[in-house]
């Protein structure tokens, strides 16, 4: 149904955004839109005309406007009455976007009836009250905020009215502060008589109209209302309250209780002061730096250690001239422990450095820089403690050296050293002790001493250890058992050890292994006994020997005498026979008799020679040497002359060639015996051939000796017999009968004269005897 043109004009001019809908529920087709509406929703008209209202403005999540509107429209159709909806919140789509904007509106749906009172259209008008609504909300929010502020504020606030400062309002925080209730209508003076000074200030503000503010204002308060006045601190603001005419009629007050803050700050200040004093008086060098390392604070000890007073806020880090690492290499100052602590934001403990003072002194120092940090972890500075360990280090070095020395002494000691604690457990042993007991060091440490001895030994040691008060230094022989179970005899000298307050801490023992010497002692004792026994035996034997020696000497003398007598007695009849033979030779003219007598004489000569030899032997043994100068040549010639008479000597040519360079001294009798024997041998054992036989005697005498060789070209001696011919009574088988005594006598006599003899001989060729005789000239 078209609208009359006047209506349409009116409709278009309506200030309220309005659309005209058909009552064709549930579509409610839009048939007309006025300009105000178009302006509000910002849609072109053609997008809306002909569409249902809910088609054009679909439901959105934010509000349930669609449902409310549907109900309202239905209600209008049913009741035929206009309906005013309560304040609606709409979400209006923003054209060209998917967003919405919130709109508040008063919505009216008015039925448009025809003449027969049926509804032809519904006039849907939307009065936009968004701005008004927003204002209301803002006001409400502010009101709420103030209320919260006032009621829940941590600061106290209120208003005092009139010159007597009567409480008009006061928030709960204030009531809590002064610990009072029901103060409204009462005067400040009445409630807070203790705070006279503050009343003066209030009067001043009231009178002058000038506000008053103070930080941490100390205020007296009788909080418990018992006369006990306490100090509280409040940040105070007193603001004059003025009436319409501009005249002060009251005072706004704002207090913030800062008592705790002030107190704790005062505490901090107090402790900081103490801390400063402490640092200042510390005997240990201490200083602090700001984050940049500038020295802010130092104590006397630090200045002493530095050897100078640093310039506060300028000198950096260590305060030293130059620094070195522990091994002596120079360290840049910005790498000093303090600088590192500041840089890394952590404490550096126990770093040792070498520092140099302005005067060149070098010191060993341990540093303990500790950085300070604020709550955000930012370094705000650091404090450092410097400890001079130069002396300690030196002492340590000295101690180390002396300890090394002692250790060396202990380890090279030839005595075992044994340290036990108060429970008799081993705490130290040296190598020697290990060696003595056969354990290694690890096995020994912790070992109870009693495990190394038998019950008897334990008993002795326990008694000894009971006496802990005085020193029990004494040496005692003591038996241990080695690891292998061997008995070890030792000599022990022990001492109790006490700590500085005189409490027994163990014992020190020096142990000497005397097992060997004990064994040796025992052995020695045994040997001594044996020796004594042997000595006795020997004495007996010696006595016996002396006896038998005497007997022997006697026997020897008797034997000599016997030999001499026998020889003499043997010779005596021989000489008689020789005498008789001579008589017969001279008297007889019988050729046979003379021949026989000659044979008798030869036999007698042989026998006589033998007897003479026995006599010589006996004499050689019996008599001492009688040194004299010997005319060698002459003696030899005499002997040769003598032996020439021997039978068989005929035709032998004697060649004597003696070079007497130096006078020769020896025993003549013995010299004679030797030569006589050798020469007569040479003749007796010569060949039977008459021609060409010779006997050569050649020799030289010098200062040292006489060398004489006696050579013949006789029958010779086989080499096999050479060694034997000097033996007593040895005779070469099958040769001419001899006594077997001659060469034995020669050898024996030569020995007496410090001489030697050699033989060179070959059977059938000849024999040479070479004798050498020592020249016995003194």
């Amino acid at each position: 149904m078209p609208l009359p043109p006047q209506f349409d004009q009116v409709f278009q001019l309506l200030p309220t955004p309005t659309v005209l809908l058909l009552p064709d529920a549930p579509k409610f087709t839009i048939v007309a839109v006025n300009n105000a509406y178009l302006g509000a929703v910002n849609f072109p008209e053609e997008d809306l005309i002909g569409k249902g209202i809910f088609e054009a403005f679909p439901e959105n999540k934010v509000s349930n406007g669609v449902e409310n509107l549907k109900n309202s429209l239905k209600r209008v159709i049913v009741k035929q009455d206009p309906h005013r909806m309560p304040l609606q919140k709409y979400d209006i789509p923003i054209c060209g976007t998917t967003k919405f904007k919130v709109k508040y509106a008063n919505v009216q749906n008015i039925p448009v009836k025809n003449a027969n009172n049926s509804i032809t259209h519904i006039l849907h008008s939307v009065e936009d009250v968004t701005d008004k609504k927003n204002l209301e909300i803002a006001f409400e929010t502010e009101r709420q905020r103030f209320s919260d502020l006032y009621l829940q504020a941590s600061s106290c606030m209120g208003i005092l009215k009139g010159p007597n400062h009567v409480y008009e309002i006061a928030n709960p925080t204030y009531l809590q502060l002064i610990n009072k209730k029901n103060i409204i209508g009462k005067s400040y003076k009445e409630l807070r008589p203790e705070s006279a000074e503050f009343i003066e200030i209030l009067n001043q503000v009231y009178k002058t109209g000038i506000s008053f503010s103070a930080k941490e204002k100390p205020v007296k308060l009788d909080k418990e209302d018992n006369g006990e006045i306490i100090d509280i601190y409040v940040d105070t603001l007193l603001q004059p309250h003025k009436d319409n005419t501009g005249k002060t009629d009251g005072i706004f007050f704002f207090f913030i209780d800062v008592t705790e803050k002030v107190k704790s700050r005062k505490k901090i200040e107090e402790s900081e002061k103490r801390y400063r004093e402490l640092i200042e008086n510390l005997p240990v060098a201490t200083y602090s730096c700001d984050p940049e390392g500038r020295i802010l604070l130092y104590n006397k000890a630090a200045a002493v250690l530095w050897g100078k007073e640093p310039e506060i806020g300028k000198d950096l880090w260590c305060g030293f001239w130059s620094i070195y690492s522990e091994n002596g290499t120079p360290l840049p100052l910005d790498l000093c422990p303090m600088a590192m602590a500041l840089k890394k934001g952590r404490k550096i403990t126990d770093q040792k450095i070498i520092v140099e003072r302005p005067n060149g002194d070098k010191l060993n120092v341990v540093t303990y820089p500790v950085p300070f940090m604020d709550s955000s972890g930012r370094v705000t500075g650091a404090v450092n403690v410097l400890i001079d360990i130069t002396a300690r280090k030196k002492a340590k070095q000295i101690l180390k050296e002396s300890e090394k020395k002692y250790r060396q002494i202990v380890e090279t000691a030839q005595e075992g050293i044994w340290l036990v604690d108060e429970d008799n457990k081993t705490i130290f042993v040296n190598n020697k002790l290990c060696e003595i007991l056969g354990y290694n060091r690890t096995e020994m440490i912790g070992k109870a001493i009693f495990t190394l001895m038998d019950a008897k030994g334990k008993n002795i040691v326990e008694k000894l250890l009971l006496n802990k008060e005085d020193s029990y230094t004494r040496q005692s022989r003591f038996k241990f058992f080695s690891k292998s179970g061997k008995e070890i005899w030792t000599r022990i000298s022990a001492n109790p050890l006490f700590d500085e307050v005189g409490i027994y801490k163990g014992s020190l023992a020096m142990v000497t292994d005397i097992t060997e010497s004990k064994k040796a002692d025992e052995k020695l004792g045994k040997l001594n006994k044996e020796l004594a026994y042997q000595n006795r035996e020997k004495e007996i034997r010696a006595a016996e020997l002396t006896l038998s020696n005497k007997e022997l000497e006697k026997t020897n003398i008797e034997l000599d005498r016997f030999v001499y007598s026998v020889s003499h007695d043997l010779r005596s009849p021989l000489t008689s026979i020789l005498g008789l033979v001579s008589l017969i030779e001279e008297d007889s003219r019988e050729p046979d008799t003379l021949e026989q007598v000659k044979m008798i004489r030869t036999s007698i000569h042989r026998l006589d020679g033998f007897i003479k030899n026995i006599l010589n032997y006996s004499q050689n043994n019996r008599t001492g040497l009688e040194k004299q100068k010997i005319p060698i040549k002459k003696t030899i010639h005499e002997i040769v002359d003598y032996v020439c008479n021997i039978k068989g000597a005929e035709g032998i040519s004697f060649q004597v060639d003696i070079d007497e360079k130096q006078p020769f001294y020896s025993d003549w009798q013995r010299f004679h015996t030797i030569l006589e024997n050798l020469i007569s041998n040479a003749i007796n054992y010569h060949t039977k051939e008459v021609s060409g036989r010779y006997l050569k005697l050649t020799g030289t005498s010098d200062e040292k000796e006489l060398k004489l060789s006696i050579s013949d070209n006789g029958i010779g001696i086989e080499a096999a017999y050479h060694a034997k011919i000097f033996n007593m009574f040895y005779r070469i088988p099958g040769t001419i009968a001899g006594s077997g005594f001659g060469l034995y006598i020669v050898k024996e006599t030569l020995e007496k004269l410090h001489g030697t003899i050699e033989i060179q001989s070959e059977k059938g060729v000849g024999t040479t005897f070479i004798i050498s005789l020592k020249n016995l000239k003194e």
């Binding site: 001499y564 020889s567 003499h568 010779r571 005596s572 009849p573 021989l574 000489t575 008689s576 020789l578 005498g579 008789l580 001579s582 008589l583 001279e586 007897i611 006599l615 004499q619 008599t623 009798q669």
Partner: protein, 136 residues
């Protein structure tokens, strides 16, 4: 036998306990013209007695005395001890020779130390020995 020569000495004394040696000597001495008369003693004691009795009676004294060493009763050296006690005239007149079948060192020493002994000689007395003595 050389009868033409007169004996060298008037009296020669021989003291020897060995009777055979005594015999030999008594034979040799006249035979080789050594002595005219041989005073033979087998005992030194007896011989000493004779000398003591005749020590001043020169003509009865022997010019040469041969004494053996080993004799029973009185040995040759014991004899010499007693001989030394005799008169000087006797000792000047008589020449004493020791004769022995064996001569040992000790004996030789003894003989050498005795101024009254002229020499020692091993037995037996030989022609050569006597001849030598005659020359000297």
């Amino acid at each position: 036998m050389k009868e033409e020569h007169s004996p060298r000495f008037e009296n020669v004394m021989i003291i020897d306990d060995n009777l055979i040696d005594l015999y030999i000597s008594s034979q040799m001495i006249p035979k080789h013209n050594f002595g005219k008369k041989v005073l033979q003693y087998s005992s030194a004691i007896e011989a000493l007695k004779y000398l003591q009795e005749n020590q001043e009676n020169i003509p009865r004294l022997p010019e040469v005395i041969f004494v053996d060493i080993y004799m029973p009763g009185m040995s040759g050296f014991e004899f010499m001890k007693e001989y030394d006690k005799l008169s000087t005239s006797l000792k000047n007149f008589c020449k004493v020779f020791i004769i022995s079948s064996s001569l040992d060192e000790q004996d030789l020493n003894c003989a050498n130390n005795d101024k009254n002994i002229v020499a020692m000689k091993e037995k037996p007395i030989t022609k050569e020995f006597l001849t030598d003595l005659m020359i000297t």
